[in-house]
C-alpha cells in the first residue's frame, strides 16, 4: 500500500484506539506492556509514546483507575482497571461504533 493509504490507515486506527484500550481493560486488569501485547496480537500495534499519554488522559477523565503492583523483576507496574464511568463510556462507544458502521454501509450501498 502506498503512503496515501498508509496515512488513511493511521487516521482510521487513531479513531478507534481508545475504544480498543477500554475494550481490553473491560476484560481484565492490565499494565502497559500487556496492553501493547494485546493490541499487537489484534493487529493494532502501538508504541509506548502513544500509550502512556493515552492512559494518563483516560485516567484524568475518570475512565480508568490504577493500582501499583510489585514486579517479580524490575520496577513496579501500574495496573489499570475500568471505572464505572469507564464502563458506561465503553457502552457509549459501542453505540458510536455501530453508528459509524451504519454510516459506511449507507454510503456504500
Amino acid at each position: 500500500m502506498d503512503s496515501v493509504t498508509e496515512n488513511i490507515r493511521q487516521q482510521m486506527r487513531k479513531g478507534v484506539l481508545e475504544y480498543c484500550i477500554l475494550s481490553i481493560l473491560d476484560r481484565k486488569e492490565a499494565y502497559a506492556s500487556t496492553i501493547i501485547e494485546e493490541l499487537k496480537m489484534a493487529n493494532m500495534a502501538v508504541v509506548e509514546g502513544t500509550l502512556y499519554p493515552l492512559l494518563i488522559r483516560e485516567k484524568n477523565q475518570g475512565l480508568l483507575a490504577y493500582r501499583w503492583e510489585e514486579s517479580p523483576q524490575g520496577p513496579p507496574r501500574k495496573f489499570y482497571t475500568l471505572t464505572d464511568k469507564g464502563r458506561a463510556t465503553l457502552m457509549d462507544m459501542d453505540i458510536v461504533w455501530r453508528e459509524i458502521n451504519d454510516t459506511i454501509n449507507t454510503l456504500k450501498k
Copy 2:
C-alpha cells in the same frame, strides 16, 4: 452522551471521513454542497471548513479531479470525480476498514 464520549465520537468519525467522501464520489460526480448533504443524511455531518481543505488535499494527492460547471444561480461549481488512483485507494480503504473491524471483533470477543 457526555463530553468524553463526544470527543471519542469525533475522533472515530475523523478517521473515516475521507473514506466516506471517496465512497460518495465513487457513486457520482458531486460538488461540495452535495457532498455535505449526503454526509448529513448518512449521519456524518461536516462543515465547509472541514470539507474544502480535505477535497484540496485529496486532489493534490491525485485521488480526485474536478471540472467547473456553471450554476443556474450563483458562482460556478467545482464538480469532483475519482481518478484511477482514487478508485484504487478506495479499494485499499475497504481492506483497511475490514481489518479494523476484525481488530475490534478480536478484542471484544
